[in-house]
């Protein structure tokens, strides 16, 4: 069972308390964007086998959206951080890099 710490209320929430939101840090494109940009924002996904950044919602808790860094090949959780972040915190990136030297980085 996947357990993530909600960065807002501090609860260690297990999966049944959370709603998944898939890939995080997608750059949004709207009116005026090219077809390529819009397509890749809407549909193309990294779906990496390894380090992945995702959106989650503490649905049956405080109700807030947050972000998580996880390894999809081992299910190891590296950490969570607030949704109001345009990139993962530097400390988290460093921690992942130390654990996964081959990771290409964020």
């Amino acid at each position: 069972m996947l357990i993530l710490e909600c960065p807002y209320c501090g609860v260690m929430a297990d999966e049944t308390e959370l709603s998944p939101g898939y890939e995080a840090h997608l750059k949004r494109f709207g009116p005026g964007a090219s077809d390529d940009e819009f397509e890749s924002y809407m549909f193309a996904r990294k779906n990496p086998k390894g380090v992945h950044f995702e959106r989650w919602r503490h649905a049956y808790g405080c109700g807030k959206w947050f972000l998580a860094a996880r390894c999809t090949a081992t299910l190891e959780v590296f950490g969570t951080y607030p949704a109001q972040s345009s990139a993962p915190p530097a400390a988290l990136v460093a921690k992942i890099k130390a654990k996964r030297p081959d990771w290409e980085g964020f």
Partner: protein, 415 residues
């Protein structure tokens, strides 16, 4: 290749079974092929088979990183049906179901296709309306299905609880020629036929890079060295994103875990397949007597081939409610597979940005039933370089163009 027959069994019985041949050869890779298929699951093997059978292309290698049929093909709950809602899906799945009818004869290999009948229970009024719509659509598509009332459901499935406390059964969408087949045998039967046509099935051979020149595919790097090819078919299910990245493009796909489990074997008690989409569970009985049960997908990307336990709990809770007599049954085994999910829950059979490289993926939780039809359509795409009528609507440009083939409503449960 020696044919399997009742006479062969008698002959071998007389000589202590010394004369059976290996079902397929295990050759070393050649330097160059006319076509390479990555992935020896059902879809990859069927693609290779129809390349030979329908187009005479037999200088083909099928590369498999593990053992053939060891991916989702060997992990699924073997449900076969074609009662889909949208026209392109009905055509493709019904083509596959039709090919299953004669597949054992065609391959001279018993795939144990058992069109025992399949019921999708309606347990809410919304579902009733949805399935009536599907029945009408299927009528126009030439797919034989019908709506049945609760009394007939009970007659077909005596062990079912028709008036459960939460979700009484209000009727069902019934496909009499739906059913099951032996999953391993489908992979093995196609593999044997491919090998017999002179194709090379190379196991323990992982593709690690795709080489191209001037936008055209040239070959693949593998754990057994470089292999050249004129055409490339990527048919790797859960790992489609990884291989697509090697070929230089991204897919509208997320890989998640899907689980299944089987019970201890019991006496025959249910000779149809029952799917209960509202409560989320489905069940059939194998020839060995095990109850074969399918669970739900995880809601997050996962490549571990094991899913979260709470899905098992939810599924079993739903099934105990639907079939009270299974409440004391012990479960024998549980496992998972990595399924490739698209947003519209329909597969991708497509050309790719790389020349002479084609992809077949996105079958997600329901591609076993499609293996023969998918192989048929994919072989045509690879041989001609353009999709035929079966594959035409399934190109990956449909996302960009907003032409989704939405089956997420028609198939509320993972299967």
């Amino acid at each position: 290749m020696k044919r399997y027959s009742v006479f062969a069994i008698a002959r071998e019985a007389m000589r202590q079974h010394q004369g059976w041949e290996k079902a397929w050869a295990s050759p070393a890779p050649k330097a160059q092929y006319d076509a390479i298929i990555i992935g020896a699951g059902g879809h990859g093997l069927a693609t290779a088979y129809y390349l030979g059978r329908n187009f005479g292309i037999t200088n083909v290698a099928i590369l498999e990183k593990g053992w053939l049929g060891g991916g989702n093909t060997g992990r699924n709950t073997t449900i076969i049906r074609s009662n889909y809602l949208q026209d392109p899906s009905a055509a493709l799945y019904e083509k596959a179901r039709g090919l299953y009818e004669n597949l054992s004869q065609e391959l001279n290999y018993n795939v144990m296709f058992s069109p025992r009948g399949l019921l999708m229970l309606a347990q809410t009024h919304h579902e009733v309306r949805g399935y009536l719509r599907t029945v009408h659509a299927n009528m126009l598509q030439g797919v034989e299905t019908r709506w049945i009332e609760p009394a007939e459901v009970k007659q077909l499935v005596p062990i079912i609880n028709i008036d459960g406390p939460r979700y009484p059964v209000l009727g069902a969408l019934y496909q009499e020629r739906g059913g099951t087949a032996r999953h391993d045998a489908v992979a093995w039967g196609y593999a044997r036929a491919c090998s017999d046509m002179g194709m090379d099935i190379i196991q323990q051979c992982e593709v690690t890079a795709v080489r191209s020149k001037n936008g055209q595919v040239e070959g693949v790097e593998t754990t057994k060295g470089y292999i050249g090819t004129k055409k490339l078919g990527i048919v790797v299910a859960g790992h489609s994103g990884q291989v697509a990245e090697m070929a230089g493009f991204r897919l509208p796909i997320e890989a998640v875990a899907l689980q299944a489990l089987v019970s201890e074997p019991i006496k025959p008690c249910m000779d149809v397949v029952v799917m209960a989409n509202t409560v989320h569970g489905y069940m059939s009985q194998s020839d060995k007597g095990e109850m074969v049960i399918g669970g739900g997908t995880d809601g997050f990307n996962n490549f571990t081939q094991r899913g979260s336990f709470h899905h098992i709990e939810e599924t079993l809770r739903a099934l105990v409610e639907t079939f009270p007599m299974i409440s004391r049954l012990k479960m024998l085994r549980q496992w998972g597979g990595v399924v490739d999910m698209t947003g519209d829950r329909s597969p991708i059979l497509s050309k790719t940005p790389l020349g002479n490289c084609f992809i077949n993926c996105g079958w997600g939780t329901g591609g076993f039933k499609a293996i023969p039809g998918s192989g048929w359509a994919m072989a045509e795409l690879i041989a001609k370089g353009e999709p035929g009528p079966l594959a035409a609507a399934f190109g990956m440009e449909r996302f960009r163009e907003g032409r989704f083939i939405d089956e997420s409503v028609a198939a509320g449960v993972a299967h």
